[in-house]
C-alpha cells in the first residue's frame, strides 16, 4: 500500500440485488501510471471501474458499500457527482462520438461546464486534440462530421473530448477492443504519453496489451482481486496459481 494513491479503495462490496458482484476489494491506484484490470468476463473488473466515478449509480439495483477515496475524499460521501465525473472521466469500448462536428464534439464538455468565447474554446479543442494525438489528422476538417472519421480516429476523438474538460483520472473500458492493430497501437502510444499527465485505469481482455502498456496489473476473478502487483512481476512470476493459469491462457 502506498501513501501517494490517487484512488484508495477499501472494503468495497457491490451487490446487484441478491448477487454479490464485488467482494471486499482493497486497492490503491497510483497517479501518473497505467493500472490495468484483467480477468475473465463477469469477473467484476468493468463493474469495479464504474464504481470509481459512480457510473455504477446509473445501474438500477446496484448497491455499493465500502469506501472509494479520491485524493482523500470519499466519492460516495457528499461528492458532487457531476464534478466527480468531470475529474474522473471514462472512455468506452465502442467509440461513441456525438453526431456533430469534430470541433463540437470536443467543445461539448467545456460548453456544458460554462466555457464561452470562441478563442478559449478553440484553444481547448486544439490542445485536447493534440494531447489525443489526433490534431494532425483532423486540423483541416474540424467542422466536418465526427462520424466520418475511422474507428480509431473516433476513439481518439472520444479521448480528446474527455481531455477537454481537464480530468485527472481516465477510466478506459476496453478502449481498443473494437479497433484494428494499427489503431490499437496508436491508442497504446497515446496512453504512454497521457500517463505523464493523468492517472489511467484500463480494463482489457487483451493480456498482451496489459503487459505492454500498464505499470501495475490487477487480476479479478469472481468479484475478488486475486492479485495485484507490478505488471512485470505479474507476467513473469505471479504469486497465485489462478493468476498463472489465467495469464498463460489455461482457464477454460
Amino acid at each position: 500500500m502506498t501513501d501517494e494513491a490517487k484512488l484508495r479503495i477499501r472494503g468495497l462490496d457491490l451487490h446487484y440485488g441478491e448477487v454479490q458482484a464485488l467482494k471486499k476489494v482493497d486497492m490503491d491506484i497510483v497517479p501518473n501510471a497505467v493500472t490495468a484490470f484483467i480477468g475473465p468476463s463477469g469477473c467484476g473488473k468493468t463493474t469495479f471501474l464504474k464504481t470509481l466515478n459512480r457510473m455504477i449509480d446509473l445501474i438500477p439495483g446496484a448497491t455499493v458499500t465500502g469506501t472509494v477515496l479520491y485524493d482523500g475524499r470519499d466519492v460516495y460521501g457528499d461528492y458532487d457527482v457531476i464534478e466527480l465525473r468531470k475529474r474522473i472521466g471514462m472512455v468506452f469500448q465502442k467509440p461513441n462520438p456525438f453526431p456533430m462536428s469534430i470541433f463540437d464534439n470536443v467543445a461539448y464538455g467545456p460548453r456544458v461546464h460554462g466555457m464561452k468565447g470562441r478563442r478559449s474554446l478553440e484553444e481547448t479543442v486544439e490542445r485536447s486534440l493534440k494531447r489525443a494525438a489526433l490534431w494532425g489528422e483532423v486540423s483541416d476538417r474540424l467542422h466536418k462530421p465526427a462520424l466520418g472519421l475511422s474507428g480509431g480516429q473516433q476513439q481518439r476523438l472520444c479521448i480528446a473530448r474527455l481531455l477537454a474538460v481537464e480530468p485527472d483520472v481516465l477510466l478506459m473500458d476496453e478502449p481498443s477492443s473494437a479497433l484494428d492493430p494499427i489503431s490499437t497501437a496508436k491508442i497504446e502510444d497515446l496512453l504512454e504519453e497521457l500517463k505523464k499527465l493523468y492517472t489511467i485505469v484500463i480494463v482489457t481482455h487483451n493480456m498482451q496489451q496489459a503487459a505492454r502498456i500498464s505499470d501495475r496489473t490487477a487480476f479479478f476473478l469472481h468479484g475478488e482481486v486475486v492479485e495485484m502487483r507490478s505488471t512485470e512481476e505479474m507476467f513473469f512470476k505471479p504469486k497465485d496459481k489462478r493468476t498463472e493459469d489465467y495469464i498463460s491462457g489455461r482457464f477454460g
Partner: protein, 221 residues
C-alpha cells in the same frame, strides 16, 4: 474450470523431453570418453568426438523450438521461465558435450601410453566422472521440474569433485617432477580430469536454472 491450451502444454512437454534427451546424450558421451580413456581405445575416442555434431544439432533444434514457441505462443510466467531456462540449459549441455570431446581427445593421446600409467589414474578419474554424471542427471531433472532442493543437493557434489581433482593434480605434478620422461602421459590424464571437473561446474550452472524456473531467481550456487 476446464484446462485449455493442451497443444501448448504438449509442445512445452516435448521441449523438456528434448532437453532431457540431450542431457542423456552428453552423459553418455562423457561416459564413453572416460571408458575410451580407461581402455586406451583410440577408435572409441574418435567416435565420441564425431558424435558431438549430433549434440550440437540438438542444441540448435532446441533454440529454434524455443524461438518458435516465443513467437507463436507468447509464453508468460512459468512457461516463459521454462523456455528461457531450456535455452540456457541447451547451451550448458552443448558445452558439456565439448568437454566430453576434450576427454576423448585426451583418451586418444593416452591410447599410446603404457597400461600401468592409466591403470593407476583411472579409478580417480572414474570416481570424478561418476560424480559428475550423477550431478548432471540430477541437474537436468531439477531444471525440468524446478526442483530447487534437488538442485542444491546436486550442486553440493561439486565440492567432492573439486577435492578429488585437487588431489589428483597435486599427485600428477609430483609425478611429473619425479619422472620427467612421463610428462606427456600425465598431462593427458590431467587434462581429462580437468575436463571432468569443468563438466561438474557446468552441471552447477544447470542447477542454478532450477531456481530460475521455480521463482525467477538468478541464484549463484
Amino acid at each position: 474450470m476446464g484446462i485449455t491450451r493442451k497443444n501448448y502444454d504438449l509442445q512445452i512437454s516435448r521441449l523438456k523431453y528434448d532437453v532431457l534427451e540431450m542431457g542423456r546424450r552428453v552423459r553418455a558421451a562423457m561416459a564413453a570418453a572416460v571408458e575410451a580413456l580407461e581402455g586406451r581405445d583410440g577408435e572409441a575416442a574418435v567416435a565420441v568426438r564425431e558424435a558431438d555434431a549430433g549434440i550440437n544439432a540438438m542444441e540448435s533444434a532446441i533454440h529454434d523450438e524455443c524461438a518458435r514457441l516465443i513467437a507463436m505462443e507468447q509464453p508468460v510466467a512459468r512457461d516463459l521461465r521454462i523456455i528461457m531456462a531450456m535455452i540456457k540449459a541447451a547451451l550448458e549441455l552443448e558445452r558439456i558435450g565439448d568437454y566430453a570431446g576434450n576427454i576423448a581427445r585426451a583418451a586418444e593421446r593416452a591410447a599410446g601410453l603404457p597400461a600401468a600409467r592409466t591403470a593407476e589414474a583411472m579409478p580417480v578419474i572414474a570416481a570424478m566422472a561418476d560424480l559428475a554424471s550423477r550431478m548432471l542427471s540430477d541437474a537436468v531433472g531439477s531444471v525440468l521440474d524446478g526442483d530447487v532442493g534437488r538442485a542444491e543437493a546436486a550442486a553440493r557434489m561439486d565440492d567432492d569433485v573439486d577435492r578429488i581433482y585437487a588431489g589428483f593434480l597435486r599427485d600428477g605434478i609430483r609425478g611429473m617432477a619425479a619422472e620427467p620422461e612421463g610428462i606427456d602421459g600425465v598431462l593427458a590424464l590431467l587434462f581429462a580430469a580437468k575436463h571432468v571437473e569443468r563438466i561438474a561446474d557446468h552441471a552447477v550452472n544447470l542447477c542454478e536454472l532450477a531456481f530460475y524456473v521455480e521463482n525467477g531467481e538468478n541464484r549463484e550456487l
